[in-house]
């Protein structure tokens, strides 16, 4: 009984940490785009879908080099699409708030449909990367719990990327321009910062982070055209929890949401696990609309 409890707790902690790492990468990008440009990107889940499908197709169809090509093309194309989406769709509509959300919503549907047409619409799995490279078994055992090497990769990559993104935003020249645009885009423009360029870069960073999340989560998740929607909803719930536009808030919020939904899934009931995002959104909007770490908005 006691041993069982330890096993259960350990596997709960590990699955929560994996989920939290994935969510933090996704929410970081979503929050960054909202915080810097005030853009509500409904197509955030679409970036995840694009990267997942590219990885799946390359691994399935290209022998040998498929894994490397999948990573290169998955991240590259996703990032480029992020930049192009800003330049072609969001920038011309920046004046109308309704226009931006509708056009990104339509873009999400466009991606959902086009991957369904070009690949197919049924569920797939990406093979485990370690099995793909002949590492068998692809897990090791600690205290009676099987831990996949993949999950260690997920946690390490997520930590490294979150730290790198934070340093990048704090220290680099581009990061400083991004923060300047986030504070006051008009003043930033007057100081000679090209706001459109900065916003395009921000969307590219956001798309890149979503692409990385998709690729490292690949073998653990499913491949289907509609997987982008839960990603979008969870990212939104996390940034409402952490505070719209707050980067530390979105990382911490990601882990809170991940552990909360894993906890209800494994110890209470899966039906409540499905309810967690909406409960988080409604409760936070009622009791603390600016989120845990959000700045108080002066109206």
């Amino acid at each position: 009984m006691n041993v069982n409890l330890i096993e259960e707790l350990l596997s709960f902690i590990i699955s929560g940490a994996i989920q939290g790492s994935i969510y933090s990468l996704l929410a970081l990008g979503f929050s960054l785009v909202y915080g810097v440009g005030g853009i509500l990107n409904q197509a955030h889940g679409a970036f995840y879908v694009i990267a997942t499908y590219l990885m799946y197709v390359f691994i399935k169809d290209v022998a040998g080099l498929g894994f490397i090509l999948g990573i290169i093309f998955g991240l590259g194309i996703t990032t480029i699409i992020g930049g192009l989406m800003y330049l072609l769709l969001i920038k011309p509509l920046k004046e109308s708030h309704v226009g931006v959300v509708i056009v990104t919503f339509a873009f999400a549907f466009f991606i959902e449909q086009i991957v369904g047409i070009l690949v197919d619409k049924i569920y797939h799995k990406i093979p485990d990367y370690f099995l793909y490279f002949g590492v068998d078994p692809e897990y090791f055992t600690v205290l009676g719990v099987d831990i996949q090497y993949q999950s260690l990769i997920i946690i390490i990559v997520a930590i490294v990327l979150v730290v790198l993104t934070t340093i990048f935003i704090k220290k680099s020249k581009l990061g400083k321009s991004i923060r300047a645009v986030a504070q006051d885009s008009e003043a930033a423009e007057l100081m000679g910062i090209n706001v459109d360029k900065i916003l395009a870069y921000t969307l590219m960073i956001s798309a890149f982070l979503a692409g990385v999340a998709a690729i490292i989560n690949g073998p653990l998740g499913t491949v289907a055209p509609h997987i982008g929607w839960p990603i979008l909803i969870n990212s939104f719930a996390i940034v409402v929890l952490g505070g719209l536009g707050s980067l530390p808030g979105s990382v911490i919020g990601a882990f809170i949401l991940a552990f909360a939904s894993k906890f209800t899934d494994s110890f209470i009931d899966p039906i409540f696990g499905a309810l967690i995002p909406i409960v988080v959104i409604v409760v936070m909007l009622v009791i603390r609309p600016r989120g845990l770490f959000g700045k108080k908005e002066i109206k």
Partner: protein, 371 residues
């Protein structure tokens, strides 16, 4: 006395308004279109053709409700499928399983009169749909920002997940055994409004006219002015002493109620409902129809729905044709085509095609009359 006079003035106003409206080109076109729509069941009772027109009229109601909320109040909802779905489920459930009954005090038992009439289930469905929408509507409408858009989207996705479940999980299955929410198959065999297709058609037609007239009138009334003020400058409206949250919630409830009526009609029309109705695709349908016609033109939704339904049907027939499918592949998929159309419309013609189309038509008409 005073009230009476007000009423009479109002009626006279309406008569004058109707007279001036009918002399405008727009009024004439609308009237011709309505008459054309009205006589269709008397020309043909082909189930397939009437079915397309039912879909068109129900989608018109749905798109108009979204257009009212987004175009006139500036609150974008990406989960209007909540209203559609909840109302459809309530209507289907009450029509099929709950008979009309009253409590007889003398014998102390329920006396069953017969099946629930469709109009009670319709109103009940729309009412409960509004209550569901308010769960996310009230907290998110208190705030500025994008909360309503994603909050409603989240709500619709989660309702989809819940209605899809085969049982309510281990915790509740002792209390409610079996598939409580009807699982993936949903509710079937819901009796239609009327067995006679002509009567059913005319009932849906009248409901559509009422909903459209109500919304058109509402946005022109004083309340409508407040809505437009909230859309254009929320802070300014608040500063002039108007409780913006209250009006936003009222608008959300009106929009939800009308969308709920569309949902109820939908379940009566296709005689059933399944969890798929909560998918974001239905919210997307509403948005695309409203955007084609033009956001903030209630009547534009009718044109948008017309194009959406007939082009969609055409693409579906094209997709079924094996000779064509080989060449174009899956690219005639309606949703794919419409997502491109929506992107193009929002990007290049944000005000929709109703206004330009009417102007062109008027030019042609003037040419024909030789003016």
């Amino acid at each position: 006395m005073l009230q009476n006079q007000n009423k009479r003035n109002y009626l006279v106003d309406f008569k004058l308004y109707f007279k001036s409206w009918i002399t405008t080109f727009r009024g004439k076109v609308t009237l011709v279109c309505l008459i054309g729509l009205f006589i269709i069941p008397f020309i043909t009772t082909n189930t397939y053709i009437l079915g397309i027109f039912y879909t068109f009229m129900i989608y018109t109601i749905f798109a108009a409700s979204w257009d009212f909320l987004a175009g006139y109040v500036g609150q974008v909802s990406f989960g209007h499928a909540i209203f559609l779905g909840v109302a459809a489920y309530v209507t289907a459930y009450t029509t099929r399983f709950i008979p009309l009954a009253f409590w007889d005090f003398s014998t102390s038992q329920w006396v069953i009169i017969g099946p629930m009439p469709w109009w009670i289930t319709l109103l009940l469905g729309a009412f409960i749909a509004v209550l569901f929408g308010l769960i996310v509507g009230i907290p998110s409408l208190r705030l500025k920002g994008p909360y309503l858009a994603l909050g409603t989207l989240a709500m619709s996705l989660i309702l989809y997940e819940i209605f899809k479940m085969s049982s309510l999980g281990t915790l509740w299955s002792n209390l409610f055994p079996g598939t409580v929410l009807f699982g993936t198959n949903g509710i079937g065999q819901v009796p239609p409004i009327s067995q006679d297709p002509i009567i059913q058609y005319i009932i849906i037609f009248l409901i559509m006219c009422t909903a459209m007239a109500f919304l058109t009138h509402l946005v022109k009334s004083n309340t409508g002015t407040i809505f437009k003020a909230i859309r254009d400058d929320e802070t300014g409206t608040k500063a002039s002493g108007i409780n913006t949250t209250k009006y936003k919630i009222i608008a959300f409830m009106i929009s939800g109620f009308i969308a709920g009526i569309a949902g109820s009609l939908w379940s009566l029309r296709i005689s059933g409902v399944n969890p798929g109705i909560f998918q974001p695709i239905y919210s997307f349908y509403g948005i695309i129809m409203a955007a084609i016609g033009g956001i903030a033109t209630i009547s534009g939704s009718a044109l948008g729905a017309f194009i959406f339904v007939f082009l969609g049907e055409f693409l579906r027939l094209l997709g079924d044709n094996p000779n064509i499918t080989g060449a174009i592949g899956g690219f005639v998929e309606p949703i794919f085509v419409f997502s491109i159309i929506l992107i193009l419309i929002i990007r290049f013609a944000e005000h929709g095609i109703l206004q330009p189309a009417l102007e062109r038509l008027q030019n042609v008409w003037d040419l024909v009359l030789g003016r």
